[in-house]
């Protein structure tokens, strides 16, 4: 039976997750150089549209259709065939609403990767890459963890709102893609954000949208919804403070870019745990996300020198790994039905680690292959001249801002 309150809340949550992709675009866009602003916005908006359509045509069916070997769904629900307005068994919202909610997750995952290859990617190559990546990596990964019959699902992996499925997958793939596409030329790597206020705007609305992301994952209104809600906010806040403190101690100054990066790292970390832990544990999880993120962004990246331009790997990938493991550590039965390591359940830790490893393996191999294919077929990188002029003018024949008018 459809429950009206559950449905109302999941509609709202879907809207909140939907707006995350455009606001992610502003978070990323504010950090690139002026001449590449539009290309970032374009990529995110196009993902929102293309994956929305991919999802109802076949993506949803691949992810949530009848299971094939624990790995992928069948095409039975392609074109939303047979997916109507009555609830799926065990749910209380119309099936098409579940489709929409999950759609927005499928949308934002590739959008997260945009941060890895900004300022140098060719739009046409990017487009093919996104469609293939979503179909061949996201959809199976989603099926394995959340789909009925998915093998990680069956093992009992905890991933409340997509730490593994979304952030680890996107973060690792971003690292691979950033290494394959190569560094930005010239002084690209040391350029300053062209419009930090836009990045703050994006981060603030990401924080807002994340309430839908996490609390919406309860797929209804109840106690777990509220747990996920308070944990989300607490982790974000703790992470902001943690990153600010690190910045202050290590770089001698608290920075705006630091605090908004921390917020995102904290939100990533709490994502898989949101419905399973207590608010006090969220402080640790959020702060931990910032610490991990900080280390990867300010130490590991410069050491290895890959140009993961906006730190998708550090902030989503690694804080995501932390979150997935932390879920196994801090989970308590009273909140989400399962106990974690701190309550002596070592097994859960192992299940969590397994999920992480699968996500990493699939992302590395899959992204490598898909990227290579796209590079051969279309080309993934613009030429030097276009990179110098900027992607806005060369890929879209538009300028973000007028200088005089």
């Amino acid at each position: 039976m459809i429950n009206a309150a559950d449905t109302a809340w999941v509609i709202v949550a879907t809207i909140l997750v939907m707006i995350m992709t455009p606001t992610l675009a502003f978070f990323y866009g504010g950090l690139v150089r002026k001449k590449n602003m539009l290309s970032v916005l374009m990529q995110c908006m196009v993902i929102l549209a293309v994956i929305s359509i991919q999802w109802i045509l076949f993506g949803y069916s691949l992810a949530f259709g009848p299971d094939h070997g624990g790995i992928i769904g069948s095409l039975k629900y392609a074109f939303l065939n047979g997916v109507g307005l009555d609830p799926i068994e065990g749910q209380t919202i119309p099936a098409q609403l579940f489709v929409c909610f999950q759609m927005m997750f499928a949308v934002i995952t590739p959008a997260l990767m945009v941060g890895a290859f900004v300022e140098r990617i060719k739009f046409s190559g990017f487009l093919l890459f996104v469609v293939l990546w979503s179909t061949l990596i996201y959809d199976p990964m989603c099926h394995m963890v959340w789909g009925k019959g998915g093998w990680l699902f069956d093992k009992g992996a905890l991933d409340f709102a997509g730490g593994t499925v979304i952030h680890i997958t996107a973060g690792i793939s971003a690292l691979v893609a950033s290494m394959m596409i190569g560094k930005r030329s010239g002084n690209g790597m040391s350029s300053s954000p062209h419009n930090l206020p836009f990045a703050v705007l994006g981060a603030a609305f990401l924080w807002m949208g994340w309430f839908g992301f996490n609390a919406g994952s309860a797929l209804g209104v109840g106690k777990q919804t509220v747990s996920a809600f308070i944990n989300t906010n607490t982790a974000a806040a703790a992470a902001l403070i943690a990153w600010m403190a690190l910045d202050w101690f290590i770089n001698k100054i608290p920075t705006v870019l630091g605090v908004i990066t921390g917020v995102v790292a904290g939100l990533v970390a709490i994502t898989p745990a949101a419905g399973f832990v207590t608010p006090m544990a969220s402080i640790a999880i959020g702060a931990g996300g910032s610490i991990i993120g900080f280390i990867f962004v300010t130490c590991i990246k410069p050491k290895f020198g890959y140009d993961d331009s906006l730190d998708v790997f550090g902030v989503h990938g690694m804080a995501g790994v932390w979150g997935a493991l932390a879920t196994g550590i801090f989970a308590v039965k009273e909140v989400g039905g399962t106990d974690g390591l701190l309550r002596g359940n070592w097994h859960q830790m192992w299940v969590q680690a397994e999920g992480v490893l699968v996500a990493i393996a699939l992302s590395v191999v899959g992204t490598f292959i898909i990227f290579k294919i796209c590079d051969l077929l279309i080309g993934m990188r613009v030429d030097m001249r276009d990179e110098n002029i900027g992607l806005d003018l060369t890929q879209h024949h538009e300028a973000g801002y007028t200088l005089i008018d």
């Binding site: 790597m189 300053s192 954000p193 910045d247 770089n251 920075t255 870019l257 990066t261 962004v297 730190d311």
Partner: protein, 113 residues
């Protein structure tokens, strides 16, 4: 006829303008520029990457004056612009071959004021 280019600190603009007006110089063109000089910029830090950016925001004034106003203009700037720290800026003076007021077509000294 002389053309003065003066680079000053942004927050001094108001004072310098007043000082120039007090000395009878009311006309000028103002440009937003970045200065690269002895003054060290503040090291910006973005996600731990330090950028010793020695480009600092400055204001450039361009002032055409008749020869007899040159000293008055320079004095006015020298009075209002300095803070005494490195980065106060510079004044550059040029000979100007011609000046025309677009509205009237007046030329030379007439056109400047």
């Amino acid at each position: 006829m002389k053309y003065i280019i003066a680079v000053i600190r942004p927050h001094k603009l108001e004072e310098v303008k007043k000082s120039l007006e007090a000395n009878g110089v009311n006309l000028m063109t103002v440009v937003d520029v970045l200065g690269c000089g002895r003054q060290k910029g503040i090291t910006e830090v973005y996600r731990g990457v330090k950028e010793v950016d020695n480009l600092l925001r400055k204001i450039k004034l361009e002032i055409a004056v008749n020869d007899e106003y040159l000293d008055a203009a320079i004095d006015a700037i020298m009075k209002a612009a300095p803070e005494g720290d490195v980065g106060d800026g510079k004044i550059f003076v040029f000979d100007m071959a011609q000046c025309i007021r677009i509205r009237t077509g007046e030329k030379g000294n007439e056109a400047i004021g």
